[in-house]
């Protein structure tokens, strides 16, 4: 029965023949269970990931329901990680789902992330991504950066020691940024960016992603652009200026 579920994705030549085994033996941590994070977690579990950790300290609000498809009206007021865990287990009851009801900060990050094969970014601010980036480099665990607003967003694989990290280029490393409610975000852009993040994650797990290009995707124009970002030797997180 298990095998039957995955036949259609196993037939994809990019996955065949070894990809499915890699997916099923990978441990994934998703930080942030909002629009991108909850969609990423769902895709990962549907594809066959058997070990997933979800991290968030927020509760579900009415304003989440237009794009955070994991949650329903009856979930308003409940913790995102609690509802997400139940929903993920409904998709596959044999998955180990660990829920962490905490804000990821530098003092707890390495403990929460250390068992991951890959870390997925479902956060919504610069501070949290900086914490993720530093922990990923220190632990030598790859992470997939994803961010979205309006009709567009970015995805980038960050493989410590191999590709540039988030601090190798001028991505802000502190602050909240502008919230989705103020800036606006199209639900379909959230889905597109989270889907792209899942594809790039698969490639990393299968050792098929080595460049770590920054991918820009706009679902409205529509438009896709890829920017090469070489490592910065003097990077404050992964280079010689590391503190």
């Amino acid at each position: 029965m298990e095998m039957e579920r995955y036949l259609s994705q196993m037939a994809v030549k990019e996955i065949f023949p070894s990809g499915q085994k890699i997916i099923e033996s990978s441990s994934v941590v998703v930080v942030g269970m909002g629009g991108t994070g909850s969609a990423i977690a769902e895709v990962m579990v549907r594809m066959g990931v058997k070990k997933i950790t979800i991290v968030d300290y927020d509760t579900i609000e009415n304003s989440n329901l237009n794009r955070q498809t994991m949650y329903k009206e009856s979930d308003i007021g409940l913790k995102k990680v609690d509802v997400a865990k139940i929903e993920l287990l409904k998709i596959n009851n044999y998955v180990s789902v660990e829920s962490v009801d905490q804000k990821l900060i530098s003092s707890n990050a390495e403990g929460i992330l250390s068992k991951a094969d890959i870390i997925m970014d479902g956060t919504d601010n610069y501070d949290a991504r900086h914490v993720l980036n530093v922990a990923s480099v220190n632990l030598n665990i790859p992470w997939i950066f994803s961010a979205v607003e309006g009709t567009y967003g970015y995805v980038k694989a960050i493989l410590p020691g191999k590709t540039s990290c988030l601090s190798c280029f001028e991505y802000p490393d502190e602050g909240e940024g502008i919230s989705c409610t103020v800036q606006g975000v199209l639900p379909s852009a959230v889905r597109a960016i989270s889907s792209l993040a899942c594809s790039i994650a698969l490639k990393v797990l299968m050792d098929k992603e080595t460049y770590g290009d920054l991918i820009y995707l706009d679902v409205w124009k529509p438009m896709l652009e890829v920017m090469q970002i070489p490592r910065n030797k003097e990077c404050r997180v992964c280079g010689t200026k590391k503190d």
């Binding site: 970014d121 479902g122 540039s164 001028e170 602050g175 940024g177 502008i178 652009e225």
Partner: protein, 79 residues
């Protein structure tokens, strides 16, 4: 010499176009950005834009050449 500027995301709205050409001397990317921001004040001086020179991440100290394409992307924080 002529360089092409490509505007992405909200910068295309602020510039009112997705791309345009500038006639400039042999200047650095940082100076080019100042010229761009002067023409389009909506692209704020203090915002750290991501800049690519011919598809590769560039820094303000790089000098541009005739025919180069400089792409400007805004930082994005949501999720």
């Amino acid at each position: 010499m002529r360089v092409r500027i490509k505007y992405f995301a909200k910068y295309a709205d602020l510039a009112g176009t997705r791309q345009e050409e500038f006639e400039v001397g042999h200047i650095k990317i940082g100076e080019l950005l100042r010229v761009v921001k002067e023409k389009h004040p909506g692209i704020r001086e203090n915002e750290s834009a991501l800049v690519a020179l011919n598809g590769k991440y560039g820094n303000e100290e790089q000098t541009i050449s005739d025919g180069d394409t400089v792409s400007i992307f805004p930082p994005v924080s949501g999720g």
